[in-house]
């Protein structure tokens, strides 16, 4: 029987994200993709290129969620330690995977293949390859952990391969009610709506739009009827609040 809810965690691996040198673009992309697949991303961690940190993060989340995705650290250089770290997290060996070796030999040819590039064919025992059409160097899957590249284009190519094979939950439907009023003028009504519809997640996200302030009220639920009932209640809360001077600024 299909599960109602399928969950995931994401681990972004790389010193460069923590130092600010690289601005991560994978979190938002993966979050959107998983939401589109009706898989709920429940937790994200960003960790450094340190084996113990990667091992700890993988082991902390892989038992808690249906899927774990990682990005980064699977290239040919000495600072690419994700494959070894994932092998260690699972307590398995790591060796050259014949199919990965073949992919890299085809990609680079005899002239360019070398020991460093061949490192990208080292896959934890039992791992299944995740091919990609951009760099050809594969990611891999061990149990419920999907190990992908850090370069967004390459990661996206891998996610395209992985996505169709993932189990999906029942979609979380979403409705947004914009309000041009301070959140504080909506809060009491929203709290009552949330109490009445505990099965609908109601969130308030303040925005500024060209000097005009307001808040998007986002409702999420797997049942369309309940969602639309709650939406009607929230619309009344927003209408009753009108617009206020407070909407000249936040909250």
């Amino acid at each position: 029987m299909a599960k109602d809810t399928v969950t995931a965690a994401l681990i972004l691996i790389g010193d460069e994200i923590l130092s600010g040198r690289t601005k991560d673009k994978n979190l938002g992309y993966i979050a959107d993709t998983l939401t589109g697949l009706a898989i709920e991303l429940r937790e994200v961690r960003v960790v450094a290129d340190i084996e113990a940190d990667i091992v700890d993060a993988v082991n902390a989340v892989r038992g808690r969620y249906d899927y774990v995705f990682t990005t980064g650290g699977i290239g040919p250089t000495h600072d690419d330690i994700t494959a070894d770290s994932v092998a260690k997290a699972f307590g398995v060996g790591i060796d050259f995977h014949p199919d990965a070796v073949a992919m890299l030999r085809e990609r680079y040819g005899d002239a360019e293949i070398n020991e460093a590039r061949m490192r990208m064919a080292r896959i934890p025992d039992g791992g299944e390859l995740i091919p990609n059409s951009v760099s050809w160097a594969p990611g891999f899957k061990v149990d419920n952990v999907f190990v992908m590249a850090g370069v967004p284009k390459i990661m996206q190519s891998m996610l395209d391969v992985v996505a169709p094979k993932l189990e999906r939950g029942k979609p979380l439907l979403s409705e947004t009610v914009p309000a041009y009023v301070g959140e504080g003028d909506l809060a009491a009504g929203l709290a009552r709506a949330q109490d009445t519809y505990p099965d609908v997640a109601i969130g308030s996200y303040p925005f500024e739009d060209g000097g005009r302030y307001g808040s998007n009220i986002v409702l999420r639920c797997k049942d369309r009827e309940r969602l639309m009932q709650a939406r009607a209640v929230v619309e009344k809360v927003v209408a009753d609040a009108g617009t206020s001077d407070t909407a000249k600024a936040w909250s």
Copy 2:
């Protein structure tokens, strides 16, 4: 005596980041700011608006790093549960802070102040306020945990207040050597450079720049002399690799 290394963790709080609805802009900004302050960001977590998740994340990192920063969940609506969660993480009570009450009364006046907005004055016992000039609703500091807003402009205003008071480490100096060659042609030389300079962190970050591929080799060390020695070695590795056909694509 000043510490050589000051460390930090960051917790981004909010369902909307995990769903992809909001694309986080705080991680990169805070990472850059901390690097500029010679504070090393070692770990980031993104967690949902769920009390247990926030409590667990705060308690997992607050003993491991010198500072913890959080963003999100301190507004006036029912889904803003960060203050209560942080109080719970520390096992302390939470109540209206007189200075926060005064700030909010001044900001909103009698006409606009209400119970919801007053919620933003609830601060865990022992907490010190972090004022901000954008929304006036304060963040707060409990022990080594700095609780800030999720709206980037407001968070940045709070970080401006906090930054001058933070202890700083010895700056991590950074040099970048660009290479227009596949990483795989540099990897052996870089690994040898890393072995020779274990005190210099050497990372390789592939890029694509208008169809031209290459990799930025980033060296980081607190000692300028060692850094520049390692840089010279890396420059030779890059020069010896020349440019290769592989630079037409990744790795």
